[in-house]
Symmetry: C2
Subunit: 159 residues, 2 copies
DNA sequence: TATTGTTATACTCTATAACTATA
DNA sequence: TATAGTTATAGAGTATAACAATA
């Protein structure tokens, strides 16, 4: 995502000649479409969040910590399907910006409980609005039934 | 992807307690599911391609160059929706491994035509088999109608 | 002037391995 | 022994900006 400049995407639109050619076999590969769709959403997210300077993953972390204050990094790892090292790094970044804090848990002093700091709560409120904008852009091409269908299908991939 | 070790994913399976809790609001965010699904597919792809040491993107490039020998880097950029700099880097990596070569086009000497080298053709043949394995893992959870539906929906995202 | 491609730079994500500390 | 988290390291992807060559 690369803390996200407020610019037009550098990816030029596909000329008609290219589009007509198609991509042959590759168009039958589900994983290929998933990757392209993810990339398109990733780029739009980056544009939408250029002012807030937050990535998809960072927003997800703030969001979850807000909804379950005190959750451990390990639980967070599971929810967002990333390993411990990645989680540490992302939490580091948010903590360095004063958006959340770590506190050792009373019951099990190996674990770190995560809580939003006031700045994190404020940023998250703005992020939720930006997510709505972004999601509107994304969902506007579908009926609500199609959105439900798509989410259900994607859930069967990520479990 | 990180040239991909032949190991179990470091992402532990979610304990039942976490799963039961769910993710609240976040579960209504389409982009969130897209990101998780992409991540899951990305990881399985990495496992499947650990021996071949190829990423999704690298396979896509070999695949397209094979299907349209002589295509330019710019056309490749459009097909895979990435900018010129990223394209240069990925082509560099494949060229360094002797899988493809660049040649200036006769008609327009600004452009570079891409062609597979024999090693590239051999690697791609093995990659196509691995893609079949990977796609079977991915598609086995869906009916063929659902696969078609999912591809159609994803296409409306990436255009 | 516009397009094609390269290079330098930089940041995020991802992951492994080795480590500390706690249980 | 097993779990929680950190640190060091590394590679891939993404993107911007400045640049050279060609059109």
């Amino acid at each position: 995502m690369g803390i996200t400049r407020n610019k037009q995407s550098a990816i030029a639109s596909t000329p008609a000649t290219d589009a007509r050619a198609g991509r042959g076999d590759l168009d039958a590969v589900l994983g290929f479409h998933l990757r392209l769709a993810h990339g398109a959403v990733y780029r739009h997210f980056a544009e939408t969040f250029s002012e807030l300077e937050l990535t998809q993953k960072q927003v997800s972390v703030l969001w979850l910590v807000s909804d379950w204050p005190g959750l451990s990094q390990t639980t967070l790892s599971h929810q967002l399907q990333m390993d411990r090292a990645t989680t540490t790094e992302i939490v580091n970044r948010l903590a360095a910006r004063g958006l959340l804090r770590r506190a050792t848990m009373a019951g099990d002093r190996r674990k770190l409980a995560l809580h939003l700091l006031p700045a994190g709560t404020r940023v998250l409120a703005r992020a939720r609005k930006a997510v709505r904008t972004h999601e509107t852009w994304l969902k506007d091409r579908f009926s609500s039934a199609e959105v439900e269908m798509l989410i259900a299908l994607l859930e069967r991939i990520h479990g």
